[in-house]
Symmetry: C2
Subunit: 206 residues, 2 copies
DNA sequence: GGTCAGGTTGACCCTATAGTCAAGTTTACC
DNA sequence: GGTAAACTTGACTATAGGGTCAACCTGACC
C-alpha cells in the first residue's frame, strides 16, 4: 500500500507525506513538487474546487498519484494553503497589530484583506470554509474571526468606528466582495480601490 | 411531434406553448400549470439552476414533459421569470420613478432592490445573467442597467450623490450582496437592513 | 545486474445532471 | 366506441467529476 497523507500535520508544515516519517523516493519527490506547483497555480486561477484531473494533467502525473500523496482535495489544500493565502493572511494581521492608531489599524487590515482577495480569488474559500475538514483552513478562519472581533471592539472603544457596526457586518462584506470577485467580471484596480474607500468611509461614526 | 416552446414569446406573455397558437389538451394544460408552479417554487428555494428532474418530480410528471412544453431550462425560466422577479423589479423601478426627491429616489430604489434580493435569491441570476439566452432576462437586465445609470446621473446633477460613485459601483455592490445572500448564511432582517443603511450612508457626498 | 518495496497508472466504478426518442397512453371528436 | 392526433414516459445516451485498485514500472540497495 502506498503512503497516504493523513490529517496529522502540525500547523505550518503543510507538506505531503511528512507525517509518515518515511522519506520519498526521488521520482516521487519530484512528482510531489510538481503536483504542489500545479495545485498552487490552479487554485489561484480557478479556486479551490479545480478538478483534480486538471491539476494532475498540469503536473504531468495521473489523478491517482495525487490521491497517493495527498489523499484527495482536502490534503492537497492543506499542503498548499500556506503558500496560497495563509502566509499573507497572517502577515496582514501582524501588520495591522503593529499599527498604533485604532482607526488606521482597522483601515489597514480591511484594505490588506481586500487587496489579498483581489489578487487571490481562492481567499474566498477560506472565508466561506468551503472545505471545513481542512484543519489549517479552520485555524485560519478562526484567527481571522478573532482579529475582526478584536479590531471592532477596539474601534468602538476608541470611538473611531460607528457603534452599530459589528464584526459580523465586516464578515458579510468580505464574503460578498470575495464572491463578487470570483463570480462577476473583475473590476479594474481603480474601481476596486474606490469601492474600498467607499466602504471605509461608511464605517466612521455618524 | 409534440409542440415545442420556442423563444418567440412577446415580452410579458411568459407562457408555454402560447406562440404555437394551438390550444392544449386538457391533460397537457394541467401538466403545464403544475410544472410552472413547481418551477416557481423550486427556483425560489434553490435558484435558477435547480435540476429539472426535481422540478418534474414535484410537478408529478417526467422530465421529458418539461422538455416537451418548455424546451428546456431556458424556456422554463422565460415562462416563470415574470412571476419570479420581473414583476417586482419593474414595480421597484416604477415606484422609484414616482419619487420626487433625487436622493429619496435613489434610496428607495436601492432599498427595494435589496429587499427583493433578500426575499428572492433567484434575483441574483438576473443580475449575473446566468442564462443569457433568455430574452426576458436580458430585457430585464437592460432595464435595470438603464435605471441605475439614470438614477446615478440624476443624483450627481442634484448633488445628493457623491461624485465618484458610478452605476458600475452600484451594480458591483448588488452582485456582491446577491451572491452573499445565496452562498453564505442568511442574515437576520435586522442585520440586513442595518447593512443597507451603511451602504446608503456611504453614498452621500463627502 | 537482480530484487523488491515504493511508486504509478489505465481502466475502472459511482454519482449527478442534461438531453433525446421510440413506444405506449390518453383525450377529443366523429 | 373507434380512431387519430396529442401527449407522456421509461429507458436511453452523453458529459463531468470524485474516488479506487490490480497490475505494472522503477529506483535504491545489495
Amino acid at each position: 500500500m502506498s503512503p497516504r497523507a493523513r490529517a496529522t500535520n502540525s500547523p505550518g508544515s503543510g507538506n505531503a507525506d511528512r507525517a509518515t516519517g518515511t522519506s520519498l523516493r526521488a521520482d516521487a519527490a519530484r512528482n510531489v513538487a510538481q503536483i504542489r506547483a500545479a495545485a498552487l497555480s490552479a487554485f489561484r486561477g480557478r479556486g479551490l474546487s479545480t478538478p483534480l484531473e486538471e491539476i494532475a494533467a498540469a503536473a504531468g502525473v495521473s489523478k491517482a498519484t495525487i490521491y497517493n500523496h495527498f489523499g484527495g482535495r482536502q490534503g492537497l489544500i492543506d499542503a498548499v494553503i500556506e503558500d496560497l493565502v495563509a502566509t499573507e493572511m497572517y502577515a496582514a494581521m501582524d501588520k495591522a497589530r503593529r499599527v498604533e492608531d485604532p482607526w488606521e489599524r482597522i483601515a489597514t487590515y480591511i484594505t490588506d484583506r481586500r487587496e489579498l482577495q483581489y489578487r487571490e480569488p481562492a481567499a474566498i474559500d477560506v472565508l466561506l470554509m468551503t472545505y471545513p475538514d481542512s484543519e489549517q483552513l479552520v485555524a485560519l478562519a478562526k484567527a481571522a474571526t478573532d482579529m475582526s472581533n478584536s479590531l471592532v471592539q477596539q474601534g468602538h472603544n476608541a470611538g473611531v468606528l460607528r457603534q452599530d457596526f459589528t464584526a459580523a457586518d465586516l464578515y458579510y462584506t468580505d464574503v460578498a466582495n470575495g464572491l463578487a470577485l470570483r463570480e462577476g467580471p473583475k473590476p479594474s484596480r481603480e474601481d476596486y480601490d474606490r469601492r474600498t474607500r467607499f466602504f471605509l468611509d461608511s464605517l466612521r461614526p455618524r
